[in-house]
Amino acid sequence: MNKNRKNDCPSSEDLSAWYDAGQPSGRISVHIATCDKCRHEVESFASIDLELSSFINDGSKMRTQVDITSESIRKIAQEQQQTYKKRASGKRIYLLYVAIFTISVLGAVMHLWRQHNQRMTYQDTKVKIAEKNSLSKEGVKLIAIETSNTNGMQLVQENKEVDLAGITQEWSGKDLNTIKALLISLVETDIRSQEALEAIKQTNSVTYLQVILRLNYGLLNQLQLELQKQGWKFIYSDVSLEQIGQYADYKENDGALVEMRFTVSP
């Protein structure tokens, strides 16, 4: 007897779920009781499940569970052992890294220390060279003066050391002509070219001064400020004026000397 009315049949999905739910009573149960097609479909599901279970349970020839788990435990133990080994070697690698890092840091510190010393050494060397080649003590050396009545720079003095004691104090507050006079007086006694000196005296118009100074930073800074105050411009300086200013604050009292070559123009 087939009282199946196609439109009333539940979907295969619903039949499958109904079958899996243990065939509870309800609309589908009532329907299946009267519908051969749906009943047949559910029966086919049951057959499939049966065959599949048989396939899984009979077909799978599992070794004993003890064998499988034992094998897994053996693998885990082996893995743990390897992990311990890795950790141990990891520890060694870590120590190696620490050693390398320490050595690198020490190397960097040493490098910085050397650089610092080199700077000091450079500065000292510079002073030494200055001592050898130009000035051996704090002082000033006027090496060239260009005047309006000479053609170009004129060498007025060579290898002449002049004691600068008190010179910056003397310059302080002085006008351009006074400073010029002071500079001239500095070189006057040793000037070889009397003609040049005469020219300076006569023209009274210094246009450039090329000077080597060996002073401590404090005095140099003072001189620099003084010249600038007097309206002199630094056309050339082999030590930056900013650097002199920076060093002046804390180098003033330690007696470190710096040699500076500069050209100034009123």
Partner: protein, 195 residues
Amino acid sequence: MEDNPSVSDLELIQKSLNNDLHAFELLMNRHVQKAYHIAYGVLGDNHDAEEVVQDSFVRIHRALSSFRGDSEFSTWMYRIVINQARNRFRWNKRRGQGVNISIDDTQIPNSSSQRSFDLPDDTQNPVDQISKRELHQKIYQEMMALPELNREALVLRNVHDMSYEQIAEVLDCKVGTVKSRIARARIELKKRLRL
């Protein structure tokens, strides 16, 4: 040490986390059969299934500390097993393997021996045995031809009657999806097996 059923999975997990490998072994022994059937259902090969289960156990041991207990341990575990089985299936497929059934690869049950050999089965006559093998071969072929997700859902359903809710948790999908995947797998198999 015998497994004491009064000791819960969670207690064994706790012990395992304290590096008690024996506790972990007991825990795995509780679930190995189901795990194996799932792997076999998905792969249809004893050797592959065994390897998948073993690999899964190793992975489970590694990841045990990440088990938060939000779901049943078994659900969490089967998820790992089915993922491993899925990976193996895909790998086999890429390599062009996984089309041979190892029905003849009979081993002695309850034995630690790994050697396999045929045993006379006096419960069935030879004709029955052959037809059963043929049927299994056919089911295997059709099962492996099913879409992966549908096959997995059907296998989980047939292994120890897992509920739709459990299957949804293992496959990380909705119950409605499980329902339709199982139905589709059955309809497809029914068609293919001409049942």
